[in-house]
Symmetry: C2
Subunit: 328 residues, 2 copies
Amino acid sequence: MKFATLKSESEDGRLIVVSRDLKHAADASAVALNLQEAVRNWDSCVSQLRALYEQLNAGSLANAFAFDPKQCAAPLPRSPQWCDASAFLNHGRLMERAFNTAPIPDMDTIPLMYQGASDDFLGPHQDVPLPSESDGIDFEGEFGVIVGPVEMGATAEKAEQSIRLLVQINDWSLRVLGPREMRTGFGFLQAKPSCSFAPVAVTPDELGDAWREGRVQLRLHVAWNGERFGEPHGGEMNFSFGQLIAHAARTRRLSAGTIVGSGTVSNVERGAGSACIAERRVIEMIDQGKAETGFMKFGDRVQMVARFADGTAGPFGEIDQRVVEFSR
Amino acid sequence: MKFATLKSESEDGRLIVVSRDLKHAADASAVALNLQEAVRNWDSCVSQLRALYEQLNAGSLANAFAFDPKQCAAPLPRSPQWCDASAFLNHGRLMERAFNTAPIPDMDTIPLMYQGASDDFLGPHQDVPLPSESDGIDFEGEFGVIVGPVEMGATAEKAEQSIRLLVQINDWSLRVLGPREMRTGFGFLQAKPSCSFAPVAVTPDELGDAWREGRVQLRLHVAWNGERFGEPHGGEMNFSFGQLIAHAARTRRLSAGTIVGSGTVSNVERGAGSACIAERRVIEMIDQGKAETGFMKFGDRVQMVARFADGTAGPFGEIDQRVVEFSR
């Protein structure tokens, strides 16, 4: 199944189902007002939602309409919790060099994960208001999962069973603020403003063979101001989503609707490019002695879309956003 | 005004007003279903809530009932965001020695703050389920504020005006997990399970002269298994709550209902004792060469109550909890 959230007067938006080909949609709010409610009451509404989805795909819904991602909020405009990992160790190791921080000894056995704000996510085409170019504005293309309730201490296997939906995320980052916050040991706060989401959240079966080993096995194609920036592959994730969820649930239960992120998709193979500017910059430093690529300017645009191996667009739709100066 | 939240079928509970002397209460859900709704629609419901509060204090409400903190959830059982500072530098400096982490150079000019989970707060008398004594179970007594909406980039002065309510918090901490998470730079996640709250959230005017310079000027009396542990004074906070809120809002807007915490209340004057075990342990290490006090065991009890200068109980009511082993 594929779902999206239309902007509405409610902060949680209004639930729609989206056809397999992302061309059509239908209101689903009679089953669950919004996606948060659907995830919370999954067992009781999943069969009705699936029936609606099948009818939409069969073209037999009289009230279907054209799917317009520009009308969409994030699938969950707010969620109970947002825990973002850094599960691509290639990225983590490069960032250690970029930030000149001490190597983390157990990085390949214990997932890195920070707690982010989850009350104000941005939709796929919303402008991204930020206070200053001098904060080092960067994108971070990643994948994530929306889970049902997870018990404290759940195993990775049990945790993987809690996955309800997969999502595609741009975890906006302010690179000038990051290293100081890391050095305090308290983690990211100002360095991580509101995240953005591709319009469509999908059940894992929609990926077919590309959902394997608890990983999204798709390339994430990233373009900055219309130019190709990279298309790293999600399969190289060093921890599975089950392992990441279990890490988050070690000392707390997770409410239904909690989102767990992969961290920036990143591949050892250099030809894949990068899903964030900071990573390209550190590669430039390593290769050429200095970073040549600057961070984003107001007015800059970033596009992100996951694609199947044959190049066809993946199930999440596209993130296409502009960074703008926040003005009061 | 004084508010509390009765446990109910809704995850947000049901709003009650509590009398000035904490003896009586009355349902307020006809004005706002729950405290989150009251904070969100503050301007439109504040006069009705105040009228109800005055009638309750005057003894003229026919449907008033005895206030029973044991029926209470946290004032906000879940909130859009929880940003916890470490605004008592005495505590921060002692903890640097306890954790043997590098000194943070700008600690006295830029507040330390981490993002915590905000979807699952515990009420004042709820048992605290945790997975293992070997994680180093500790309490942290602190004060906090619940804000209305705050714009990105708000000044400290503007931010202070957004304060709707004051609260008293126990920020549960797992000390064995903390140092590793700090060293990664990603901040606390497993080290910070669900926080607990005293039952009553109050408007700043309820503190009279004890709300001054954006600080809660009360002593926080902490007892562990019935023995006095400390009563440090909240006035020694090195940043005002306005400054803390402004720090949180530097690159994001804050939704109404966001909670900002002071971090462990801590005084330079040793006679005041401590509001967390870790701090006592580091003082023991400094004074005697080793920490003698252990962390909490399952079955242990912690009580926390703020008191006015004359020793009378403060406005928040009491936290009185037991730590229990989480069992599936």
